[in-house]
């Protein structure tokens, strides 16, 4: 990368924080704009499809809606870019380009963008080179960090704290102790939001074999009613049976599905904390931060706090805005980053 960037005046620059998620990607910009898209990228299958969709590339919900005409990619599905799929890399690239274009006011040239991109922890470990390469051309300078770390930075949990970021494809854990977290401070498990969806789908299929539902519907049920522990009241949803909307009680299935991700979360949390000296363990245990879409499962914070309390005083916090906590954290990091660091990158 050249040094020409250094010459440009700083006032025109736009600084962005991006959360590149397995299911949803968000961006927060220094000009106050914030937005997100579902992490889908689709290219028309052929020129007819190209005519039908009226664009050479589609993103997010729009891509999903036209999926029959598209080659559809969810590039970080399991937290990493897949092997041998140049297209997945390409999709990452386009996705980031798209996000940046959403917050650019006038068509400023990409030279003026400074970006911090948070990516799933596993992807950071495995794909950081590829990721950086993919994004390089859209920003004057760019830093990649692991997503849970961006969250931690954003809420000022820099020392003796732990972030649990419950996404769609992965739950990412990260312990902060005053430095950039190393690989040992981080962990990823694959039983996350998508896993709940699949479980719920399976349970419902067993209980209501004649009803007509799909994974997308099931995910919506989850996002609306998710809970663990005691149900406040029965969860009843409309599902078509022979084309006719019919009320179904899904309380028990929903609880079981949501609870299915708990064992791995508890185990990873305990193990990561256990690596520290007991006095620090006590502090970390009281600084546990839940982020990501999955942190909105009702009762989850309370449950974790109870489990952790068996080992000593514990406090589990929820981030205010799970949709944007990653992007906001990345933006904060980008804005705090001294100018001289940017110019070298």
């Amino acid at each position: 990368m050249t040094k020409k960037a250094a010459a440009k005046a700083a006032d025109e620059k736009i600084i962005v924080g991006i959360d590149l998620g397995t299911s949803r990607s968000a961006i927060s910009a220094s000009n106050g704009k914030r937005t997100w898209v579902d992490s889908y990228v689709g290219w028309p299958r052929d020129f007819i499809a190209r005519k039908v969709v009226g664009s050479s590339i589609l993103f997010g919900q729009e891509a999903l809606e036209h999926r029959l005409s598209l080659e559809l990619y969810r590039p970080l599905k399991n937290g990493v870019i897949k092997e041998g799929t140049a297209r997945d890399e390409e999709a990452v690239k386009e996705l980031i380009h798209h996000l940046i274009s959403l917050v650019q006011t006038k068509k400023t040239s990409t030279e003026k963008v400074r970006a911090v991109v948070g990516v799933p922890a596993e992807s950071f470990k495995v794909n950081k080179v590829a990721l950086k390469k993919a994004v390089a051309e859209f920003a004057e300078s760019l830093l990649v960090v692991s997503e849970p770390f961006a969250v931690a930075y954003g809420v000022n949990a820099l020392d003796n704290a732990m972030v649990i970021d419950i996404g769609a494809g992965t739950v990412d854990f990260c312990i902060m102790h005053g430095t950039v977290p190393s690989e040992e401070d981080q962990r990823t498990v694959l039983t996350a939001g998508d896993f709940i969806d699949q479980q719920l789908f399976n349970f419902l299929e067993e209980r209501y074999p004649d009803s007509d539902f799909n994974l997308n519907m099931v995910r919506r049920f989850k996002e609306k009613f998710s809970f663990i522990g005691e149900a406040d009241r029965a969860v009843k949803v409309d599902i078509p049976v022979d084309g006719k909307p019919t009320k179904h009680d899904i309380t028990d299935e929903l609880r079981r599905a949501c609870e299915s991700i708990l064992p791995a979360i508890v185990e990873s949390t305990l193990e990561l904390i256990a690596k520290f000296d007991p006095e620090y363990q006590d502090i970390i245990r009281q600084n546990v931060i839940l982020a990501g879409g999955g942190s909105q499962i009702r009762g989850l914070d309370e449950y974790l706090e109870n489990v952790l309390s068996e080992y000593g005083p514990a406090k589990v916090h929820l981030v205010d805005d799970p949709l944007f906590s990653g992007a906001d954290g990345a933006l904060a990091l980008a804005q705090d980053m001294p100018a001289e660091y940017w110019t070298d990158i």
């Binding site: 080179v129 950086k132 949990a157 020392d159």
Partner: protein, 398 residues
Amino acid sequence: MAIRNPADSTDLRKAILKGVYDENLRIDSMVPDPVTARRRRRRSRIGNPVLLSVLLLVAASSLAGFLASWNPAEVAEPVAVDVPAEPESPQITTVEVKVPVPVPYAVPSAPPRPLFVLKPPEPVEKMVEVDFSREKLLDYSLILNNSQVRLSSLFGLDVQTIIIDPGHGGRDPGAIGVMGTKEKNIVLDIAKRLRDRLQESGRYNVILTREEDTTMSLARRVEFANAGRADLFISLHVNALPQQKVNLIETYYYGPPSDIETLKLAEQENRGSGIKNRDFENMIKKIGNTFKEQESATLATAIQHSLFTNVKKYDKDTADAGIKIAPFVVLLGVDAPSVLVEISCISKKQEELKLNLPAYREEITTFLAEGTVRYLAKRNLQIVKGEEHDQKGRGKSS
């Protein structure tokens, strides 16, 4: 929300920002400069098979002793590596290796050494679908650890230690039937029977993760299996379903996205200019993981088949959930090929009743043993000829 650290965090912030910067500089140094990268890639666009040859090439030099003592004539038929014509390699596998770049099909160092590759085992029957499309790779870590290895050990195929893991235990009862039968007790009993059965042959050293009704975390089990240098790991569980009529049998293995391994490999390579011995070992281990995944799938297939077809004879309401890939912590962590079997379904009343009969538990044991032994036999069949003269077992030295 406000998570404030007691101390002023300005300095901390500074240090962390510097850390992010440094880390990214390191990453940048791994990102190939577009121009030179393109040039380099044209010459050495290395896909897996070729990479393997490179590895072998490096191995060859460090293995002179072994190779010298090895008479290729005794090996009836050199097996060629099955190299796909156009290796589909991830973009970032551009590698700078200070050795002549080999072409597929030929290991460039003279004299040509036969490469041994396991033939993809055929699925036992159509009933389960396993993806054997990727080529088989051997567990080359053995070569590294011991230059005096004999042939059969070289292929890592003479299983020595089987670890059986009765699920749950202690405070964790696992699934509980309506009559109060507990999963933890059933699987412990069957695990013990299975151990005794497998040990009869005298070929295997069988160890249980727990001998009693004790609580044991998954991490502990993983640790145990790895410390015990398991060659096979079988976790036993009993299912419970909301639907009470069916006896569902299923076998899981952990299939991490294969790409992780490959990409890690690539990254390893990007890091240094030459391959250091330790890096090399790490890479080999990663290849070994592909081996683990494939072997796990084959083992799962064999066990599932034997268990299901036999149990089905007794109870037509038995359902075959086939073999599945799932992210069980215990399967991920264990280095050896590992599977998790849901041997029965306690939510079905008759099944719970039967599980309480020693005779039935013995029966299930037989099916499990049959599947396991069938797998082992099959695996041994795939050893390239020439194994007979090599009867010495592999020591636990490695």
